[in-house]
């Protein structure tokens, strides 16, 4: 699914990486507030949906080669997180939707989860 499509489905506001969004196409979704749960999964072409607003969400996505980060429940990421996302060329956006609703919408539209690392 095109990242642009995800942003429109979630009525999301883009905070970083606007210029990269059109070139990204994903088919998987990591959703977690615990970063180790993200790091414990295998590699996939996906985005991260999280309630974490500190720079660690961006660090995690960068380390795990995740394509973009979406923060839920309208929470405003810390300024350092936005700056890090810009530095790492990682699209970051926020949605007012909750985790459940956001994931439900993306699942219905074809995104799938990521398997545990073996």
């Amino acid at each position: 699914m095109k990242l642009r499509e995800i942003i429109s489905l979630l009525h999301a506001e883009v905070l970083a990486g606007e210029d990269l969004i059109n070139g990204i196409d994903v088919d998987r979704c990591y959703s977690a507030d615990l970063m180790s749960d993200v790091l414990g999964r295998s590699h996939a072409n996906g985005i991260l949906i999280t309630g974490i607003t500190n720079p660690q969400a961006i660090r995690t996505a960068d380390i795990a080669d995740i394509q973009a980060v979406c923060v839920v429940r309208g929470k405003q990421p810390e300024a350092e997180a936005v700056a890090l996302a810009k530095q790492k060329d990682l699209p970051l956006f926020i949605t007012k939707m909750g985790m459940f609703e956001a994931c439900g919408i993306l699942y219905t539209n074809g995104l799938r989860g990521v398997a545990e690392r073996q």
Binding site: D33, L34, M35, S36, D37, L39, G40, S42, H43, A44, T50, I52, N54, P55, Q56, A57, R59, T60, D62, I63, A64, D65, K88, R112, A115, E116, R117, Q118
Partner: protein, 318 residues
């Protein structure tokens, strides 16, 4: 504790790739786009023609859009033996049918094949409507297609970076009694403010040295978790990485307080994380478990109150 790679036979990277794929692909993704079905009212003679013309050995039986049974060439042979070639399919079909769901992972599908021994399984969506049929052939075809796509992608990537030597190539080309690259990062304790920076820097450095992306990811994730542990639980410490001919060693060394029970610390979900760590999204008790999965070998030594010395080794796969 020392963990050794247990894989034998095929090259480890190829093995892991296919294994990864059966966890990534769903039944729906390998299922052929079209299928042939029959109605329960049709005769076995009609089935014979249909199987012959479509070169099939079996097919689902559908009534009013719903799956009602499966009929195969074996049933046809039995019908011939019983002189029942004009009997309706309804009387000869199998009605006890094992099904798969289109969104099930391929790994479950393969398990079902070996458990029940049938040659084909009808595929349903979550509204229990028949959407296709899957055979061992379609699994193989699906995996091959995916391999082909990934091969092409890695080929085009390789073409872009052809001039760039890999780490292994570099070590083959230079000679000395001992060659290594060493990296050291100081990690502050009791704050997660900069945690992850060292892992990120190390990953970047290894990328520049030509370490391949899957290995980069494993080293990055394991180093990140180690760094989080140093920052969360210790008075501070260092992360050292040594790049050698055979692979990469990453060490996390701290100055205390040490882990009282190492066995317990290695259990999934065991955590002594304070609230401030949990609020930042860590402390789920999965850090060491993740490191163990990422590293080819891991060794954890700790004494109270001197400190902890974690060693992880990663081998080149390409």
């Amino acid at each position: 504790m020392t963990l050794e790679r247990k894989e034998q036979g095929p090259p480890p990277d190829r093995m892991t790739k296919t294994q990864e794929m059966v966890y990534e692909l769903t039944v729906g993704e390998v299922m052929p786009p079209t299928m042939v079905t029959v109605a329960p009212g049709q005769t076995m003679a009609e089935l014979r023609v249909l199987l012959r013309d479509n070169r099939l050995s079996g097919t689902p039986v559908v009534e009013n859009g719903k799956l009602v049974g499966m009929i195969s060439i074996e049933d046809l042979i039995n019908a011939l033996t019983d002189n029942a070639i004009n009997a309706p399919i309804r009387e000869r079909m199998k009605t006890k049918v094992e099904c798969l769901y289109a969104d099930e992972l391929l790994v479950h599908c393969i398990a079902k094949f070996s458990k029940f021994g049938y040659r084909r399984y009808p595929v349903l969506n979550r509204n229990n409507e028949l959407v296709g049929i899957v055979t061992k052939g379609s699994i193989v075809e699906g995996l091959l297609k995916k391999l082909e796509v990934e091969y092409e992608q890695s080929e085009s990537k390789a073409a872009l970076t052809r001039q760039r030597p890999t780490m292994r190539k570099f070590f083959e080309d230079v000679t000395a009694d001992e060659i290594s690259f060493a990296f050291k990062y100081n990690i502050a304790g009791q704050t997660l403010k900069d945690a992850g920076k060292a892992a990120s820097e190390l990953k970047n450095a290894l990328k520049k040295l030509g370490v391949c992306p899957p290995l980069l990811r494993r080293i990055g994730v394991a180093t990140y978790e180690a760094e989080i542990n140093l920052a969360s639980y210790t008075k501070g410490g260092v992360i050292r990485a040594q790049v050698e001919k055979w692979g990469v060693t990453v060490e996390a060394i701290d100055t205390g307080p040490g882990i009282p029970d190492v066995e317990k610390a290695l259990q999934p979900g065991f955590s002594t994380a304070p609230d401030w760590v949990r609020e930042l999204g860590f402390g789920a008790g999965m850090g060491l478990v993740n490191m163990n999965k990422c590293a080819d070998e891991m060794n954890l030594r700790s004494s109270v109150p001197e400190g902890t010395h974690l060693t992880m080794q990663f081998y080149y796969t390409s």
